[in-house]
């Protein structure tokens, strides 16, 4: 990986495959990100411009965190611990939980799922304390095994 500074443009990260294909990521000073791909025998590169949000998603795919299609669910696995598969799940609150706290609902006791964050009106609450009360419109980020997440959706949120 070669990193170089391009004054007035941004920073360039460049990598060359053994075949001679080149991939470059350029963080523009405007905050956008350009992705260049240049095959070794091509005379023109393919270029696309990403917002930082899009780049982050693409990044998480590239680092190996698999994005499954059902709702927003990321499966994380580590190469060292092959049997460990953790799901990070994003679910909107339902009528069943609004006005109740994490403690009241006994989410962990009943399902094994841990609530790691709540997104409320664009602000994130990371590691919310057990007494946190869910409000209308909250998004819950929950972590657990696939079965645990499923249980949480059924028992706590009252879905399907």
């Amino acid at each position: 990986m070669r990193i170089s500074e391009l004054p007035e443009i941004g920073t360039k990260y460049e990598i060359e495959s053994p075949k001679g294909d080149k991939v470059a990521v350029i963080f523009l000073t405007t905050g956008e990100i350009e992705l260049y791909v240049l095959e070794s025998d091509a005379d023109k590169p393919s270029v696309t411009r990403l917002t930082s949000e899009e780049a982050r998603r693409l990044g998480s795919v590239l680092t190996g965190a698999l994005l499954t299609i059902e709702q927003e669910d990321i499966e994380v696995s580590f190469s060292e611990i092959s049997d460990l598969r953790i799901h990070i799940h994003l679910c909107p609150v339902t009528k069943n939980v609004v006005g109740k706290s994490i403690e009241d609902l006994a989410i962990r006791k009943k399902t094994g799922v841990t609530v790691v964050a709540i997104s409320r009106k664009g602000q994130s609450i990371v590691s919310p304390p057990p007494e946190t009360v869910f409000e209308e419109g909250d998004l819950i980020v929950a972590v657990g095994k696939r079965e645990q997440i499923k249980a949480c959706q059924q028992v706590i949120l009252g879905q399907g």
Partner: protein
């Protein structure tokens, strides 16, 4: 006298021509200058009064100040010290400055005028060059880096040229060292003061209200006023443009300043557009001079030689840095556009110029205006077609010197 009407004329005409240039995928700098020429003194003369002309020029001057401030902010002292980059920058300067200077002497300009012409001809347009690198998707190629650093190097040279030119313009030979010393003293003072005050002003830049932008303008105009007063006291001239550049580079070191870049860029873009208009507007076309065969010949020679100059310097740089003549020719094509800096240089000189020192100022001015308009348009084309031009020139080179590249 109605400033509102005049401002409407300036903004509407610039908007129309600016949009047209974007649709045609052309550089917008010449569009604004042409808008000024058409509506100003030498054209329809629609600006209502002398006061309005002054008013618009003043708004434009803020644009130049902000441009130089921004260049100072972005300026990277550390990166440019790398030997490869220094080599490229020096080659670019040596070749292209000489071309302009020699041609200036040949067409009968005075030494100082030839120096001014050489400065305007040497310096490429960072704005056009950099935006065309991005638009034409060149950033993955190694020469893009070389070109960008060339632009940085040109920024330093620009600062030096401005200091030298404003000092030389004081009139008498004995005053030049005084003027130079005063300018350098002020620069050191600004750099030291900002560093000293850095802890005190850094929190001010973090505020969300009007204070940060107010502080920036207060610093710019405050130091410019100081430069002006020093100038009066010492009978010399210290340009506010130089002050803005060094103030910008001093403030770049203040933490929390990055947050304000966006705001500064918007102000800069607006006022710089008005500057290009005002430059065209004040310019009195000497139609007699324009029609003369001498003028046309001089202009043609200037255009051709300066383009050849950039290709030669590009070729040398490419051969040395990238080991490829073709890459070098592309560097030449990318650095062909001239624009904002040439105009800024000529404006600064015109403002302080003592007429005895500039006997052929009319010719010089007409030459540079016509030159910048043509080279900004041609240059964008060259930059866009860089690879094709490089390839075509290589095939010619290979035919002429078949053994050289085996």
């Amino acid at each position: 006298m109605n400033f509102l009407l005049d401002l409407a004329i300036v903004t509407v005409s610039c908007l129309a021509l600016g949009l047209a240039s974007k649709y045609l995928r052309q550089a917008s700098i010449p569009a604004y200058i042409i808008a000024g020429i058409i509506l100003g003194r030498s054209g329809l003369d629609l600006i209502s009064s002398d006061a309005s002309y002054d008013f618009i020029s003043w708004l434009g001057k803020i644009g130049v100040i902000l441009l130089m401030f921004y260049i100072g902010l972005e300026f990277n002292y550390k990166g440019i010290k790398e030997p490869r980059r220094l080599f490229a920058g020096c080659t670019d300067f040596a070749v292209n400055f000489s071309v302009g200077f020699l041609l200036g002497i040949v067409i009968g300009l005075s030494l100082i005028e030839a120096f001014i012409l050489a400065s305007a001809v040497y310096i490429s347009s960072s704005a056009i060059v950099i935006s065309s690198l991005i638009e034409n998707k060149r950033l993955i190629y190694p020469e893009a880096e070389t070109v960008v650093w060339l632009m940085v190097f040109e920024d330093i040279i620009l600062a030096i040229l401005l200091v030298v030119l404003t000092s030389v313009m004081v009139g008498s030979l004995a005053m030049i060292p005084v003027s130079l010393a005063a300018t350098l003293l002020l620069i050191v003072f600004i750099l030291m003061l900002i560093r000293r005050l850095s802890n005190f002003i850094a929190p001010l830049f973090e505020r969300d209200d009007e204070i940060p932008i107010l502080l920036i303008f207060a610093l710019i105009f405050g130091f410019s006023a100081l430069a002006y007063l020093m100038g009066i006291l010492l009978h010399c001239h210290i340009s506010e443009v130089i002050v803005a550049f060094f103030l910008g580079s001093a403030l770049a070191g203040v933490k929390s300043f990055r947050k304000l870049f966006g705001t500064i860029i918007s102000f800069k873009n607006l006022f710089l557009t008005i500057f290009f208009f005002s430059f065209g507007m004040m310019f009195q076309f000497q139609f007699a001079a324009l029609n003369s065969a001498d003028f046309v010949l001089a202009l043609l020679a200037l255009i051709i030689l300066s383009i050849v100059g950039k290709f030669i310097s590009g070729a040398i740089i490419g051969k040395r840095l990238h080991g490829s003549l073709e890459t070098g020719l592309r560097v030449g094509a990318y650095t062909t556009p001239r624009g904002e800096f040439s105009v800024v240089l000529i404006m600064v000189v015109m403002e302080i110029g003592i007429l005895e020192l500039l006997p052929s100022i009319e010719l010089l001015l007409s030459l540079v205006v016509a030159y910048v308009i043509i080279l900004s348009i041609m240059g964008s084309f060259f930059a866009k077609q860089g690879d094709k031009i490089g390839k075509a020139m290589m095939s010619v080179v290979n035919k002429l010197l078949p053994q050289a590249h085996r």
